[in-house]
Assembly symmetry: C2
Homo-oligomer: 510 residues x 2
């Protein structure tokens, strides 16, 4: 855990939503699920949720996991937990029960706030450990105070946040077979939002559209930017290309955050119709974008701005400046103002155009992973090794060659082969397993597997797939599994995932 008082780095700011409501109470802060709330509305409702959480026993320092689809509830949880000094652990709703249980256990969560529609998943994921389950509907209805409701109004709600304090633990796919919980501080989010504004600008009439999951850092970042900038966040409950396009037309959206697969579907849905000029930035993250998509957008004058981001950098690390969008097509731009970025080649700085590992440092970089003794205060001058590969051109623009070693990005979700392989290897029939990504026109990539069976046993592809489906989020389950007598390995025995036999598949059914 970070103890800011020990590092001396404490820096108190007014709690973000409450301050925003003090400054511009009447501006619309959130448009979501039929609601249209001013910042004053949001502030009042966040107080109500915070008091109900306190009544349920939540205290400062508690880890409160959430299992919520996009909607107004995760927005209110984000802000109400700040008012209690509790730590948000936003769980991916697509996780399998075993994955949920593992994350709940390792973060030491005391509470799980879930929505009724996900009741089964919540139960499945928590049945085996002590955890207080809280149905989100008991927290969010009725605003600040319901008639007749007895609430501990004396609960002291925090009106300040310490930038060095832990705000959330966000799980990222792990390179070693298990996801890791990246710790993010209030300062990480603050610096990210400010750095983004210094690059993309900030207009009082900006409206930010997100249909990215709010349990990912990219979705959360939209919520923080909305509150810090005083701009409306338009949050969609799920990705629907027609709804996205309609919101751009009808809601005066100026900035959308998408991944490549979403953008492609938006273009497909829209046909030849242009976008209104108010749409000033399509922030495209989630991995290297296909060049044909970028070229199609450039031809249609869609202001795509590619970004390279990580959970560990509280979203954007590098983003192309709007003025370079066409000149540097395919680049993720330059680091945000407050971040430094360098390319490392086996310990020495890369020369221009030489590919190496991307390193970043600065105040929006996570202090570490929860439970990792290496966790450090956010003022550290250490470099974060991203594991991603890229190069800088002669002008210092970043090109991302490949997300980490073997990382598969499917529709914006990260899939680490090692994590899927670990599940396959847990099956008694499997001796060796290898997983790699297969290009996919819709999702960017999908996982495929190859296995070597133990001698004398028999198992079908369907049985293995069913085994995976019980233990992995659906998007991580291979679309096909090939049976082999051996897997390609280096002389030292290291699996060569890129040489795995291509099962010759096309896209799975959507």
């Amino acid at each position: 855990m970070i103890d800011p008082s020990a590092t001396g780095a404490a820096l108190l700011l007014p709690e973000f939503l409450h301050r925003r409501a003090e400054l511009t109470p009447e501006r619309v802060g959130l448009v979501c699920a039929g609601s249209r709330w001013t910042f004053a509305d949001m502030d009042q409702r966040a107080d109500g949720v915070a008091r109900r959480l306190a009544a349920a026993g939540v205290q400062a320092g508690d880890r409160v996991a959430t299992l919520l689809r996009n909607g107004t509830a995760p927005v209110l949880l984000l802000h109400s937990l700040a008012r209690l000094g509790a730590v948000l652990v936003p769980l991916n709703i697509r996780l399998a029960p075993a994955e949920l249980a593992w994350q709940l256990e390792t973060c030491g969560a005391s509470y799980l706030v879930y929505e009724s529609a996900l009741h089964g998943a919540a139960q499945d994921g928590t049945g085996w450990r002590a955890l207080t389950l809280v149905a989100v509907e008991t927290l969010t209805a009725g605003g600040d105070h319901r008639p007749g409701e007895a609430l501990p109004h004396a609960t002291p709600l925090r009106r300040h946040v310490d930038l060095a304090a832990l705000q959330s633990i966000v799980y990222t796919s792990g390179t070693t077979g298990q996801p890791k919980g990246a710790m993010l501080t209030y300062g990480n989010h603050w610096w990210n939002a400010v750095g983004s504004a210094l690059n993309l600008g900030l207009q009082p009439d900006d409206r930010l559209l997100a249909s990215l999951p709010l349990f990912h850092v990219g979705g959360m970042a939209v919520l923080w930017r909305s509150v810090l900038y005083g701009c409306t966040a338009v949050v969609h409950e799920r990705f629907d290309p027609a709804a996205m396009n309609a919101a751009i037309d009808d809601e005066g959206v100026t900035i959308v955050s998408v991944v490549a697969a979403m953008l492609q579907r938006m273009l497909d849905q829209r046909g030849d119709r242009t976008y209104p000029p108010a749409l000033r930035c399509v922030l495209l993250g989630g991995g290297p974008a296909p060049r044909p998509l970028l070229e199609a957008c450039a031809a249609r004058r869609i202001p795509v701005v590619q970004t390279y981001g990580l959970t560990e950098t509280a979203s954007q690390a590098a983003t192309l400046a709007p003025e370079d969008a066409l000149r540097k097509l395919g680049s993720a731009g330059k680091p945000l103002f407050h971040l430094e970025l360098r390319i490392d080649c086996a310990g020495r700085p890369a020369t221009p155009n030489e590919t190496g590992e991307i390193l970043v440092r600065g105040p929006s970089v996570s202090p570490g992973y929860y439970g990792d003794d290496q966790a450090r205060p956010p003022t550290s001058a250490d470099w974060l090794r991203t594991g991603d590969l890229g190069w800088l051109d002669d002008d210092g623009y970043l090109y991302v060659a490949d997300r980490r070693d073997d990382l598969i990005i499917s529709g914006g979700e990260n899939i680490y082969p090692a994590e899927v392989e670990a599940v396959l290897l847990a099956h008694p029939a499997v001796a060796e397993a290898g997983v790699t990504g297969l290009d996919d026109p819709q999702w960017g990539a999908v996982p495929v597997a190859a296995v070597v069976l133990r001698p004398g046993v028999a198992v079908t592809e369907g049985e293995l797939l069913a085994f995976c489906a019980g233990r992995l989020a659906r998007y991580k389950v291979p679309v096909a599994i090939a049976f082999r007598t051996e897997l390609p390995r280096t002389a030292s025995g290291k699996l060569q995932r890129r040489r795995l036999p291509n099962p010759g598949l096309t896209s799975p059914p959507a």
Copy 2:
């Protein structure tokens, strides 16, 4: 001195101008005195100035005073000193020799960088102490490197700044008869620029116009915002209302920073012509604005945004949001996002609409005055007592009733009566002295004095004025001195400046 390593609050960022030049080298950063420099130009020139300063002996921690009129030189000094870790002490060029000498002495300056036109003032102010004089022309000509110039190119120039490190010492008029040197850190400026952007927005095509002196915090703040935002700063060498109006028309200026006297003269010069719509913000500081001026601007749809600022808050502390400009005419708005503001009535919080002392705290507040043992790290939660009086209305909007007790603001310059009285009392003929402000249509106010002479001596008004003129900046010299047999005092003997006899003067000759 602040020792950030002792507070643990060190937070390294890329050095501001150098980072900006890395990110957007080709954008125009400065338009001034016939020059039009990109950020790359500025970066290269700042390196040259830094190397020449190093060759002259300047080292990290040195206090380097400047005596410079507005121009490109103070811009380059600001950034080049950051590259040496030296501390800027920007002196007011209107100071009298005795005032200059006192400030140079108390800040412990080792160097004075002056321009040739001010050679006499520099010599007068420094003749009595050891100080290395550096003519600015020897630093600034020729960009990064002049042909044939031998420069210590090995001088390691800093490419990072610590937000907790001391950037400058800026003298403010003192309430006790002597100016005080407010210490400002890089973090103070960073937070001020960010807080301003979160209020006023930030557009990549913004152009910021300043004819405010760059040795005042309001002028410096424009330079920092330009570099952090990546916007052009248009700097005028002196205030000329016709030149200001022409720059707004011809240079695409979007934001101007002015004080009331300047704005009035701009309106007078312009007559009935409207301003172009690109002018989105007239940031009006330097003391409470006359209501007729605000009403005249509102009637002409000039987007005046009133601000309340202090040297000790690195410029803006509270600023009206653009959307409230008409609805809250006369208010200085709400505090910047990162600052807290409260009104103190003898130790208790004021009720709405009750006048009291304005208190502020937050990361843009100066850690203290140079040489003051009370200096504290910038993460302190202490409140700064501004000495200014004001109230908050029912909606939390600040109205500044009066700048500090008895403060006279004349054309944006602060004059403390105690400082002028101390000079009058130094004359052998003067037994008592009182100074107060007289309303003035052009300057807002001008100082007037009343004195009681010692028995049996004789002196003329002209002799006393000449005495003052040798010891005070011209704007501080009273426009008239009345001779009295006694001054109004309270029962306890405290001077009642507001009851000083009005000499019945009108405005002095311009």
